[in-house]
């Protein structure tokens, strides 16, 4: 899209939306949010970029092939169930580490469900990005032929 306003605001919005997607990802376990929503938010940020600067630029901005993201996301999500299996519990059972870093009053909990959510985040980002960009590329190819 050829609009200076749109392009400039995209520059501002992209980092903002990506940060927000990570915030949504992290608050996900006990509050609304999580990997799926976070991944969609991140994908929409890149979709915005694709609209403003074209799908090639969006692919460069993402840096990795979206298919690799899907694979890595799936890997992380499925691996997050393995520690429980090794500990003799059921696959995907949540394991939590609790610690209180200096300066905090409440303990900070970190666990395997977070790894699962990160995997989902990457998977959804990769899949949604691939869909958007493929449609865009298909349209461009059709334009080139027609």
């Amino acid at each position: 899209m050829n609009s200076v306003i749109f392009r400039s605001s995209t520059h501002v919005l992209l980092p903002f939306m990506l940060t927000l997607s990570v915030v949504v990802l992290l608050r996900g376990h006990n509050e609304p949010g999580g990997g799926f929503v976070g991944g969609l938010l991140a994908a929409s940020a890149f979709a915005l970029h694709a609209m403003a600067f074209g799908h090639r630029s969006a692919r460069e901005r993402l840096r990795v092939d979206p298919r690799v993201l899907i694979g890595v996301g799936l890997l992380i999500a499925s691996a997050s169930g393995l520690p429980a299996l090794v500990m003799g519990q059921e696959y995907l059972e949540g394991l939590w580490l609790s610690m209180t870093p200096p300066g905090f009053t409440e303990p900070l909990k970190i666990g395997t469900p977070l790894a699962f959510d990160i995997g989902v985040y990457l998977l959804v980002l990769g899949a949604a990005f691939l869909m958007i960009v493929s449609l865009e590329e298909y349209r461009h190819d059709a334009d080139a032929v027609g």
């Binding site: 799936l74 499925s78 949540g94």
Partner: protein, 514 residues
Amino acid sequence: MLVTLPILVPLVASAACLALWGRARVQQVFAVLTTVCMVGVAVALLNRVWADGPQTAALGGWAAPFGITLIADLLGAVMVLLTAIVGLAVAVFSIGGTTPARAAHGHAALVLAMLGAISGAFVSGDLFNIYVWFELMLLSSFVLLTLGGERAQLEGAIKYVTLNLLSSMVFLAGVGLVYASTGTLNLADLALRLDALDDPRRATALAAPLLVAFAIKAAAFPLFFWLPASYHTPPPVVSALFAGLLTKVGVYSLIRVTTLVFDQERALIADAVLITAGLTMLSGVLGAMSQNDVRRILSFHIVSQIGYMLMGLGIALHATARGDAGAPTETAVLALAGAVFYIIHHIVVKTNLFLIAGAIQAERGTGDLDRLGGMVRTHPFLAGLFLFSALSLAGIPVLSGFWAKVVLVRAGLEAGTYLIVGVSLAVSLLTLFSMMKIWTRAFWGEPAKTNVPPPGAAWTRLGPIVGLASVTLAIAIGAPWVFDFAVRAAETALDPTAYIEAVLPGRMQPGGEP
């Protein structure tokens, strides 16, 4: 723990293949290693189930009936093993049997995802989860079918996906109805709750949509035509994978739900299954007679052989319906053991015949019988392997198919279902005719002239074929042991006490609140 691995290993490997996007050769080798692992896991699982009874797992630590239950009994475990064996053969054959473009577009990842989904359906203890695995199976098979996007492929894929989506829709509707009526989808829990319904006809009404959906997946009469319309269009290695496993998931699910869950009005279901079985056998074999392409003939024979498996199930249900509730009758066990034996034999032989069709196509560039001929002189080894597998399929005495059919026929005679026995024997003869048609037209006669470039790496094609042929031979030689195994698998399937006890400990006591 062992129960989760048959799903986990191929699915994680599939994800790893995606992460290795663009490195086709690495993916293919990786797929072979993964399937070797799957065989190992499956053998360990089968061993454990044989020694200690059904194995269960509750994902995430959420106990049944609320969480996702995985369970492997003997029937499920042997299906997982067969899946792994077919997977290994297909993974090795893929090295030489796929074009570089196809390999670069995720062939290995899709094959592994499909193997994971199939294993998942075999160890799932929950109706909705079976649905999820069916969908994953459908998705990956659809992409495998259309990769390359040739006209014939797309035409076959449209029929394939339309009917399979219809089946999924009916399945999902059935799942909804079951949940609304009973408040559970866990198979073991469902078995207890359906027995407590005031009217057994309600249970049968709930069974109807599920049975129809599974019958479509199994390619049973009348909605089988998606199978012969699509199986000959993708590369041979993909059709071998489909031919060996996909329809058998439908048959397995039919066996599972009719013996475990919907056992309230067995007589009615038995009649429906027996009629379907007879018509499936006949329509498949008659369809095959009019075909002129190796893989098309073999595709129609899958349909016909699904009929034999359903015949075993039907006779088993028929025989238990006559006997009183409680311990399954000997005839019922014999019939279901026949079906299990048939499935074991069929998966191995059928995959192998499709791989042989693939080898023929690689050597001669076509599967059209009019343009083949004389391969017994140019490729005597391949000819021998084909003859062995084809005769096994047709059920020539002492080969594996013969034993499977003997058990089925004997059970049918004991149960007094003479009509289906007659049909099955006639169909057997026609199967032999079809196999001989391929033999005389493709292997005998004058060698046809071809200008196909000599294909490289013959071991990737012959290796899996020889391997599967040896498994077939082992089934034939070890028939008494395979039969003993099938009997035990049938006994545990027909008497669900152990299954329910494994999923819901303590719920089976008399007077226990269902």
